[in-house]
């Protein structure tokens, strides 16, 4: 198991799995706005993506880029008063049209795990109650049976003394243990899609590796499709087949995870990769992206959103909103991208020119 092939660092969920039949999730031209003080504020702009069966797609971006909101839209968890255009379909079904029991069974098909298990799990109910609640309520599984299944699932995420854990309360467990409980419980309904919103950000470094490892094993065993939200390109690459990079409420690049990191097409993806300090050597200077990330509401409709911070900016960048277009094996929303990829070196070169 040495020397993983370039492009498929894990050797997991190869294109064959996603190529069989139509994709599990299809998001098409999704735009979302919420009402703030009587005026509409744009949150997502024209987001289109697909997730194949058993495929892991990373959604990478900084705060306010819209990555969490995309996951919430897929799970029909947008805040009250949010306006949505475009469509989301799951296994061929229009998600927006689902109501009542159909919506509930859809949500059982789509499991969600959150960043901080401390606040995502009800603190006054026992672990057992939290884990078996959906089974008992929605599928009328008897408590004893549900508890047995919970214990088995806990064992699969590496918690051996499940029976004892079921009787404990969230505050009695460490963050890493609690996130495993969260993962185990989300898998009890046998979902086909896992929405993971920064599932390791609130955890300790060494725990993060364990949780990713568990997620990786489970997704392969269960054939789960995953939408993995993170701010860390490197983490996206270790876990996901493809990576989509979001900026100001829209997708600016999609492609093979390794390609997005090693040969990014969009200047923002390149900037993100270059801005991160490295653990293996000290850089004379970090290639920081100037300015601050724009939120979707601040972004222009008639120019490139990233242009003000971009080292490759030319006048044409301000003369129209770029479309997401195919380039090489990926997609990019930048008029300047093409020919050669914008590697870290190119960015440095242009910046100092």
């Amino acid at each position: 198991m040495t020397g993983s092939q370039p492009g498929t660092p894990f050797g997991v969920a190869r294109p064959t799995s996603s190529a069989s039949g139509p994709p599990l999730v299809e998001v098409d031209s999704l735009s979302v706005s919420i009402q703030v003080d009587g005026s509409a504020r744009s949150i997502l702009r024209n987001v289109s993506l697909t997730i194949g069966r058993g495929e892991a797609l990373a959604l990478v971006g900084e705060s306010g880029s819209g990555k969490s909101m995309t996951a919430k839209a897929i799970d029909r968890l947008l805040p009250a008063g949010a306006r949505q255009t475009g469509s989301i379909s799951f296994d061929g079904q229009d998600v927006a049209k689902m109501t009542g029991a159909a919506l509930r069974s859809y949500r059982a098909d789509v499991a969600m795990i959150f960043q901080d298990p401390r606040v995502a799990i009800n603190p006054v109910r026992s672990i057992g109650d939290f884990m078996t609640e959906v089974l008992r309520t929605n599928t009328r599984v008897r408590s004893r049976v549900a508890a047995d299944r919970a214990v088995k699932m806990l064992a699969r995420v590496g918690i051996a003394d499940g029976q004892r854990r079921l009787e404990q309360y969230p505050h009695e467990l460490s963050g890493g243990l609690l996130q495993r409980v969260m993962i185990a419980s989300s898998l009890l309904t046998e979902p086909r899609l896992l929405l993971a919103d920064e599932p390791t950000t609130a955890l300790d470094v060494s725990t993060q590796a364990e949780v990713i490892e568990i997620l990786n094993d489970l997704r392969r065993e269960l054939g789960l499709a995953v939408l993995f939200i993170t701010h860390d390109l490197e983490l996206a690459r270790t876990f996901c087949d493809r990576t989509a990079v979001m900026y100001a409420g829209e997708i600016v690049e999609v492609g093979d995870s390794s390609a997005v990191q090693e040969a990014p097409l969009h200047p923002y993806s390149a900037g993100l990769a270059a801005a991160r300090p490295r653990v293996d050597r000290r850089l004379a200077r970090l290639e920081a992206i100037p300015g601050r990330p724009l939120s979707a509401v601040e972004a222009p409709d008639d120019a490139c959103s990233f242009a003000p911070r971009c080292v490759h900016r030319v006048n044409e960048c301000d003369e129209g909103h770029p479309e997401l277009r195919p380039l090489g094996l990926g997609m990019v929303r930048c008029i300047r991208a093409g020919g050669t990829a914008l590697t870290e070196k190119d960015v440095n070169h242009e910046a100092h020119r």
């Binding site: 969920a13 993060q208 590796a209 990713i212 065993e221 690459r237």
Partner: protein, 276 residues
């Protein structure tokens, strides 16, 4: 000149207990003037407790803390002593949102600190000093009138750094100061911190769980695990050739090419068959 005069901060035999729990157990390290030391550890390792003891927010059960050659282990009794200690060590916290007063403008916050430490300055000179501080951290003159909530996360953290600098301290404790920032902003602040150290010869004690940040900002590093110091050396040594098993584990947990192999080295049942 004695050897200790060259040390900005010196911690020796530090111990702290909460009831029967030993939070910090016989920890010693030192930072020379103008140096930068990374204090690495995960939650519960005792690194934040050490910061609190150095700042005088907690008292140690045993051991000694010296800054600029002066003992600061016992609580400061007088106002003058407290002010002197403030000029020795300042802190920048992780979350500027909760460490800045939400009702005070950045300008009046900085001016108050300047007034406290430079009583001889007249109003005009104080204002000039505030402007200099803002300039130093890359903020604009218009930010003097801004409230913390009107600024972005990166700007707030710059303001917090300016406040620490206002006391012209010898040592700044950076307690996970860049951990909550977005990647592109984090790089800006890390560059700023490196520049400031070069310009002002200020000493850093960086408390962090992020090994890449430690690499970028420090010369030497110590690693803590469950209250004990398990490894120390130059940052390059500690990160490139970790000796203690805990440091090795931490190092292997950083996402990266090495980590990919480690994670995928765990065989899975359906490794060959792929997903159905």
């Amino acid at each position: 000149m004695k050897l200790t005069d060259d040390l900005a901060l010196e911690v020796s035999g530090l111990r702290k207990t909460y009831g029967s729990v030993v939070a910090v157990d016989d920890v010693s390290f030192a930072i020379r003037r103008g140096g930068s030391l990374g204090l690495v550890g995960e939650s519960g390792s005792g690194k934040t407790t050490i910061a609190k003891i150095i700042l005088g927010l907690e008292s140690a059960a045993a051991g000694q803390v010296r800054a600029c050659g002066r003992d600061r282990t016992a609580a400061a009794r007088t106002l003058g002593e407290r002010r002197r200690r403030a000029r020795e060590v300042q802190i920048v916290f992780q979350d500027p949102h909760s460490s800045l007063d939400p009702r005070q403008t950045i300008g009046s916050m900085l001016e108050a600190v300047v007034r406290l430490h430079h009583r001889d300055l007249i109003a005009g000179e104080r204002r000039q000093r505030v402007m200099d501080l803002l300039d130093m951290v890359g903020l604009h003159e218009r930010h003097t009138a801004a409230l913390p909530r009107e600024m972005s996360g990166g700007q707030r953290q710059r303001a917090a750094i300016a406040r620490a600098l206002a006391a012209e301290p010898e040592v700044i404790v950076l307690d996970e100061s860049v951990a909550a920032l977005d990647v592109s902003i984090q790089a800006q602040v890390l560059n700023l911190l490196a520049d400031l150290r070069e310009r002002l010869s200020v000493t850093y004690l960086l408390i962090s769980h992020d090994l890449a940040v430690v690499r970028q900002l420090t010369d030497t590093a110590v690693v803590m695990c469950q209250g004990q110091l398990v490894e120390s050396g130059t940052t390059a040594q500690v990160l490139d050739d970790p000796q203690h098993i805990y440091t090795q584990r931490l190092r292997a947990s950083v996402p990266g090419p090495t980590w990919v192999r480690r994670v995928s080295a765990t065989p899975s049942i359906l490794d060959e068959g792929g997903a159905s």
